[in-house]
């Protein structure tokens, strides 16, 4: 393009307020979010106030779905199991990810290759991960774990059929799938910390533990906040691994709120009550994230 028209275009672009440029860039993503997240969320809330069964809308019922939901003792138990799954997974995944990130930084190029390998489970579909682990944990001669145990003369352990061991097993599989994602965020976070600070700390004679407590951890909190938020949402809403591994059993010992939503909405086909569960899950997610922001949000970069 040349001549007065081109000049005019460039001039207009130059004088266009930066806000409009930003809005133009954000608009497509915003449209997608509104169409895929916001509108369905509003519809979900609307549906939670109606009696909908097997795609038949039987009308407005106010908060009846919520009243019935909390009248069922299973709901509170499911919330409890969701929190156990969420915080149990976080308690293992986050420290593991911090250690992995520190190690990867130390290893340099080899660490990056290791991280790529560790990311493979994250790239796999959760339901595939679940089926894979179901085969690994099969308590018969075909199962990998059973084969390993037999080398030590031990009988197979049916981890997924034991009401006490099923939840820890599901947590372990969930962590196996996700901790590398946390590690990659934290590795990037570690890269943002100025090396000068560590040199100064060395001059001051700080131990490794003191360096971690006084430099690494405070400056890593923005990344930790991201990791905690993303993993909390991910774990609290996890359902595919549970469907694939235990179907909420045995004896409902892994029936989390996410699984209860799946069972109510997609198996029992009570879509009104299913949406009520989704609203409750949304509110709990919101509370948890608000808690993290309050706890860690003000610490970054101090």
């Amino acid at each position: 393009m040349a001549g007065p028209i081109a000049l005019s275009v460039r001039r207009q672009a130059a004088i266009r307020p930066p806000g409009r440029v930003a809005a133009t860039l954000v608009a497509p993503a915003l449209l997608v979010v509104v169409a895929v997240n916001i509108l369905p969320a509003f519809f979900g809330f609307y549906a939670s106030l109606r009696r909908i069964f097997f795609f038949g809308d039987e009308g407005f019922v106010g908060i009846a779905n919520f009243v019935e939901l909390f009248a069922d003792p299973m709901t509170l138990r499911a919330i409890g199991r969701s929190l156990v799954f969420t915080f149990g997974s976080l308690a293992i995944a986050v420290p593991l990810a911090v250690l992995a990130a520190l190690g990867i930084r130390q290893l340099g190029a080899a660490g990056r290759i290791l991280l790529t390998i560790l990311l493979v489970p994250w790239a796999m579909s959760p339901i595939v991960v679940a089926l894979l682990w179901k085969w690994i944990l099969l308590p018969s001669p075909g199962g990998l774990l059973a084969a390993v145990l037999s080398l030590f003369g031990t009988d197979p352990i049916n981890l997924l059929s034991n009401p006490q061991l099923a939840m820890p097993t599901v947590i372990a599989v969930g962590v196996w799938r996700t901790f590398a994602f946390a590690a990659i965020i934290l590795t990037a976070g570690l890269g943002q910390i100025p090396a000068d600070l560590y040199r100064a700390a060395a001059v001051d004679g700080l131990t490794a533990a003191e360096r971690f407590a006084r430099i690494t951890f405070p400056l890593l909190t923005p990344s930790l906040l991201i990791v905690l938020s993303v993993l909390t949402i991910s774990y609290f809403n996890e359902v595919q691994i549970i469907i694939g591994l235990t179907s909420g059993g045995p004896i409902q010992s892994t029936t989390t709120l996410g699984y209860l939503l799946f069972e109510t909405g997609f198996v029992e086909l009570n879509q009104g009550r299913g949406n009520a569960i989704a609203v409750v899950m949304f509110l709990i997610n919101l509370l948890l994230i608000a808690g993290y922001v309050r706890l860690l949000g003000g610490q970054g970069g101090r």
Partner: protein, 434 residues
């Protein structure tokens, strides 16, 4: 064209359309002499390229139909079997439903209540209604008629959830077939538990079958309340069924850790030799033979469920598959013709010969093929089907979308906990709000 001629023309067209609309229900396609043509979309759990016996037979029937009617294309759109009914109802509402759909009999009433099924009596040919319908198994055919409207045709009459057993394992304890009363059955199952093998495998985490209901069928059809279709979950029959499970566990005939096994898990573990007997979906008999790894496939056999007291051996005919038609189908004529072809005498014989299924057409059982040894499986199914203990689920079962999961949770507690059966069943009843 003048304004007056346009009015005349429009009036003539409207009159013709009105006459056609009034006459349509009384003029069947046979009278019109229409040849099937166009596309027919079918939703089923089977894959168009699958290799199971049923899938191969289905593919051959499609190919034969298309060969007879070169202008027809039948497209199979495979769907997850547990979502067929919900997806279909949603698709009908959005007017994008397939012409034909596979549905479970237990979900028929829900789909009917959503007005999502066409009246097949309006679409099937008079010849088919005259010759084929009376030739099918009455107990199944009757269940597809709601308020005089025939909403589907039942396919593959079979005892549904039956007991599969290994003759070699039975032979180890000196028996040829499982005992058909519960006390003797429990004893036999316990004696067959050896090493890593258990006497009996039951699915305990499935949302479309319940071993507890199958055990209760040993009391006969009276387990379902005639008026409500409900089971009396705290009544003596349910308690006896729960106690039976407890005895199986106490005698180590059923594994105490068998707490979240779906039907497919039982199938896989049975194939690996983990069970001497197992609850299984009868139409999968050939699949069980094909995947047999822990035993000789020729040792696989099928039995009715044991009963209580002097009742005949129990055979619960369901859940089973039926085929319905969308009320919005744009090609009902061809869809009906294809549907009829699935239930022809030739097709029935093929289902039996190639997939070991009981023929849908009863008259086919007189074919000489059924006297041959390879017909023994279909013949065994047929004996169960016509036995005195055969029964179906009621046409309407309340909470059909919940009952199996609730009862399987109860079954898991009966197997894996020390809670009193009475408490467990009361909890199940309370969960269902019955």
């Amino acid at each position: 064209m003048t304004a007056s001629s346009m009015r005349t023309s429009r009036r003539a067209v409207l009159a013709a359309a009105a006459a056609a609309a009034v006459a349509a229900p009384f003029v069947n396609r046979s009278a019109l002499g229409q040849a099937p043509s166009g596309a027919v979309r079918v939703w089923t759990f089977m894959s168009a390229n699958g290799q199971s016996p049923r899938e191969r037979v289905f593919r051959s029937l499609i190919e034969a139909f298309q060969a007879r009617h070169p202008g027809v294309t039948v497209t199979v759109e495979s769907q997850p079997f547990q979502e067929l009914e919900t997806r279909f109802v949603a698709a009908v509402a959005q007017r994008r439903a397939p012409d034909l759909v596979w549905l479970r009999d237990t979900f028929l009433s829900l789909v009917v209540d959503r007005n999502a099924l066409a009246d097949l009596d309006q679409e099937l040919s008079p010849e088919f209604r005259r010759d084929a319908l009376p030739d099918m198994f009455e107990v199944f055919v009757r269940k597809s008629v709601f308020n005089g409207k025939r909403v589907s045709l039942p396919l593959w009459p079979s005892p549904a959830q039956a007991i599969f057993y290994r003759k070699d394992a039975l032979g180890e304890i000196g028996l040829e077939a499982p005992p058909l009363t519960w006390p003797a059955f429990i004893d036999a199952a316990a004696r067959m538990t050896r090493g890593p093998r258990f006497g009996l495998g039951l699915p305990t985490s499935d949302n479309s079958v319940s071993a507890l209901i199958n055990i209760m069928t040993g009391f006969g059809p009276s387990i379902f309340d005639a008026a409500t279709g409900r089971l009396d979950l705290t009544g003596p029959q349910a308690l006896e069924a729960a106690d039976t499970v407890r005895q199986l566990v106490a005698r180590n005939a059923v594994s105490r850790t068998l707490l979240n096994a779906m039907g497919d898990d039982i199938q896989d573990q049975f194939a690996a030799g983990r069970f001497a007997m197992a609850q299984a979906f009868a139409p999968r008999f050939q699949q069980f033979q094909q995947i047999a790894a822990g035993y000789n496939a020729r040792d696989l056999a099928i039995s009715a469920w044991p009963s209580f007291g002097d009742r005949p051996p129990a055979v619960l005919l369901g859940p089973y598959w039926t085929i319905g038609m969308s009320p919005n189908s744009a090609n009902k004529h061809t869809a009906a013709a294809f549907l009829e072809s699935i239930f022809s005498r030739e097709a029935s014989l093929k289902w039996a010969q190639d997939a070991s299924l009981v023929p849908d057409r009863r008259s086919v059982m007189s074919d000489p093929w059924f006297t041959r040894p390879e017909a023994s499986v279909a013949a065994a199914f047929h004996r169960l089907l016509v036995g005195p203990g055969a029964m179906v689920f009621p046409q309407r079962i309340p909470d059909i979308t919940r009952i199996f999961t609730v009862l399987n949770t109860a079954l898991q507690r009966i197997i894996g906990s020390d809670d009193a059966p009475r408490t467990i069943l009361a909890d199940a009843k309370s969960t269902l709000g019955w």
